[in-house]
Amino acid sequence: MQQSAKRRSRAFVTALIAGTCVLATGLVASGVSSAAGDKADDASTLVVASIGTPPTVDLDDTGGKPQGWEIANNIYGKAASYPITADGQRNFLKYVPGLYKSWNRNADGSVWTFDLRRGVKSCAGNTMTSADVVWSAQRWFATKKLGALVAGFMNVTSASQVTAVDQYTVRFTLNAPSALVLPVLALGRAAIFDSTEVKKHTSSSDPWGSQWLSTNGAGFGPYCLDSLTPGTEAVLSANPNYWDGVPPIKRIVYRAVPDASNRAALLKNGDVDIALALPPDQLTSLEKRKGITITNTPGTAVFSLLLNNLAGPLGNTNFRKALLWATPYDQILTDIYKGKYAQATKGTVAPRWPGYSAKVWPYKTDLVKAKAALKASKIKTPVKLGLTFAVLSPTDEQVAVLLKSAYAKIGVKMNIKIITPAENGTTLATHNFETMLYRLQPQAIDSVYGSEVYAGKGLSTNWTNYHYQAVWDVFDKIRSEILTRKRIAAETQIQALEAKNPGWVPLLTQNYVVAHTSAVKGIVWQNDEGLLFWELSKS
């Protein structure tokens, strides 16, 4: 009887093992075959691995949400844009028409009239008219989000300043002349909604259709939103009615892959066409791989160590200069950005910014000059300062450690404080820091605006509490000037003045780097660093 029990027990174990093996084989086989079918090899479909899915596709609500504006840009298109030159870069001094076919302004630039392109249709099949622009402007100011903010750059501060002249003509009456009208239109944040479609989804509690627009597209751009599965993917398809012809890539699958090493692995294995936001180490491991291209172009995000000019020793100009002289610029570029994913920056704006001049900025790593500046400041060392940063990129902590070690050489002890991304806004807005790592990236491209936005008198974005009357005088003088040539000259003058009285430490300018398969063509940097899918093709 015991023999029989043992036999049964053995048979049970054998059956269990066999069953497990069969199950595992089946699962693995399905896994392998499935993996093979997962390749992004269809030329009409582009698979993008991003950090996340867009939290919203309402273009007006995409402030601080890069995935949001990346997708929404492709749904809403642009009223005007920058032309791409023969060398594959954008010319930021010229504009080509988009949803607006043409424009003109009065002599002083305070009234702009826009002629809308005829026959522009949304994904719902509705034709764009001036009523859509006027309704959209009303929505910008009713919801008080991104549309209202960027309209403010244009000196448009109420919906009544945007009026319909006729069915295809709209007029913007500015509070004062502004050089930022076309830069804002090219930025694409002043969204034009298909008002006919949105009105079908409004209610008394949601008169501007905000809830519906957060997960549905209602634009006149090149792509339609097919689906948005939060946390998983957004799927776009080409707008068959797009005014500039159907884009070469018909379907976009924008997948959320939060882990950077997974995004790199997916690209290596050919499961995605583009892997976004990879850190330098991952990029280096990919660049020699056959079939993978790293598009690496200069950007405009100046990675800076913000100095609170009202905090203790940081109010002393010579002390700030000492930090500028003691900063290990080359070491950060070489050790952390591998000498190729960022550029040295001689000034508070990026080298490609209109008005940038490397000649006016003297600072480089020079401990002798740093110590001399410190001596001139008459501030006794050691000095203790807080160094705050939110982990927005894996490189930030490495930069903080390098700075800490470099400043210790002149007797400045940095106490590193890491905050969450959600605290970033609060910390900046309340100036609750002594020094802070942050990327300064003015999105609307205009020479003087690039400086004034972070150094202007009384501006909420003057996070460093920068105050230097000579610079403010230039801002005041040039603010209403709309001639590009004069504004560029003024910006160079501002850079020279800021060198005399620096407000913060510009460390470097980050490049715009996208890793993709070599089959993908047409990636060109643009000011909000989102991909414009309609410009891409895939062989």
Binding site: T20, L27, S30, A35, T56, T229
Partner: protein, 338 residues
């Protein structure tokens, strides 16, 4: 039985209310200001304060809690500022993904690790018995030492990156596969209901590594508890009596197993809570797009309504499971109700 259920139910309600108060207070102690996070750093002076008033964040904690609890009772968990959607809508879209992942991890634990625990508990003088002892000891040590997310990354690096033997860690389905129509939200079940075998195969393939990760890390206590308890039962006097009475080894094992069930069920119930917690990071590693990933995003963005909604739903689920465990325990051993 009825009294026990009623008593446990009242305890469960108290636990939920208590947990909601604690979380409500803790979330508000976070250093980030949701109004400032919503407006971003480009904000004019006074705007943050105005928004705080509009959101009711300037009210006392008690007032805020009463308002939130009243809304929650009517099914309104608030609106996520980050996604602009009602929190319940966000959660209900993501919850099935997490429940499917956690569910298969528990099923694997129950149907693979428990039988292994039971079989390995039998007395044997053979060498393989000692080997099994050592293997289980080693497994217990490893499972306790390796963080779940790290194991997930290692499995991806080994199977997907190096061996090209697993599916891409790109969520619940391949890019080329259309999700089945939403009935239960569980892709494995919905694809069967739809007769969509391509989606089924893809869903199963994508579950393997995350389920393996969660089972490996969180199944160890269940395996060890099963083994120890069954072993204890097999050493008990009633087992000697049964053997002396001439019962077969299989019958003896069945008796031992039946007597081991109460502590095993409690361990499984507790494990469920841990697996839900573990899913938060494992989902991020496997781009799962579930409930846990939503929580991570909500915390990073100071999305208070979303964080509270997540914790409330997770609490209700966990307490619901503990409630079922208590009832099952009572059914197996009525002495606990005394």
């Amino acid at each position: 039985m009825g009294k026990l259920i009623l008593r446990r139910f009242l305890y469960a309600l108290l636990q939920i209310v208590g947990a909601s108060i604690i979380v409500f207070v803790i979330v508000r102690l976070l250093p980030a200001d949701p109004a400032a996070a919503m407006l971003g750093p480009d904000v004019a002076p006074g705007q943050v304060e105005a928004l705080r008033q509009q959101l009711g964040l300037d009210n006392s904690l008690f007032q805020q809690y009463v308002t939130w609890a009243g809304d929650a009772l009517s099914g309104d968990l608030g609106r996520s500022w980050y996604t602009s959607q009602p929190v319940w809508d966000d959660i209900s879209k993501r919850l099935p993904a997490t429940v499917e992942l956690v569910g298969y991890s528990l099923l694997t634990t129950i149907f693979v690790l428990i039988p292994i625990g039971v079989l390995s508990a039998r007395k044997t003088r053979r060498a393989y018995g000692r080997v099994i002892d050592k293997v289980i000891f080693l497994y217990g040590m490893l499972a306790g030492a390796i963080p779940d997310f790290l194991l997930g990354i290692l499995l991806i690096a080994l199977f997907y990156t190096q061996l090209h033997f697993g599916v891409a860690p790109i969520g619940r389905l391949d890019v080329s596969v259309t999700p089945p129509p939403d009935v239960t939200g569980f892709f494995t079940i919905d694809s069967i209901l739809d007769g969509n075998w391509v989606a089924f195969k893809s869903a199963v393939a994508h579950l393997i590594l995350p389920v393996l990760t969660l089972t490996f890390v969180y199944g160890a206590p269940v395996l060890k508890m099963t083994r120890q308890t069954v072993k204890h039962m097999l050493d008990a006097e009633f087992t000697d009596y049964a053997r002396a009475a001439g019962l077969s080894e299989r019958a003896i094992l069945r008796i031992a197993l039946k007597n081991s069930l109460p502590p095993m069920i409690i361990t499984i119930g507790l494990t469920f809570g841990y697996v839900i917690g573990g899913a938060v990071l494992v989902e991020t590693v496997f781009s799962w797009g579930g409930f846990g990933q939503y929580a991570v995003q909500a915390i990073s963005n100071a999305d208070l309504a979303a964080v509270q909604g997540f914790v409330l739903v997770a609490t209700v689920i966990s307490i619901g499971v503990y409630f079922v465990v208590d009832v099952l325990h009572y059914m197996l051993d009525p002495r606990v109700g005394a």
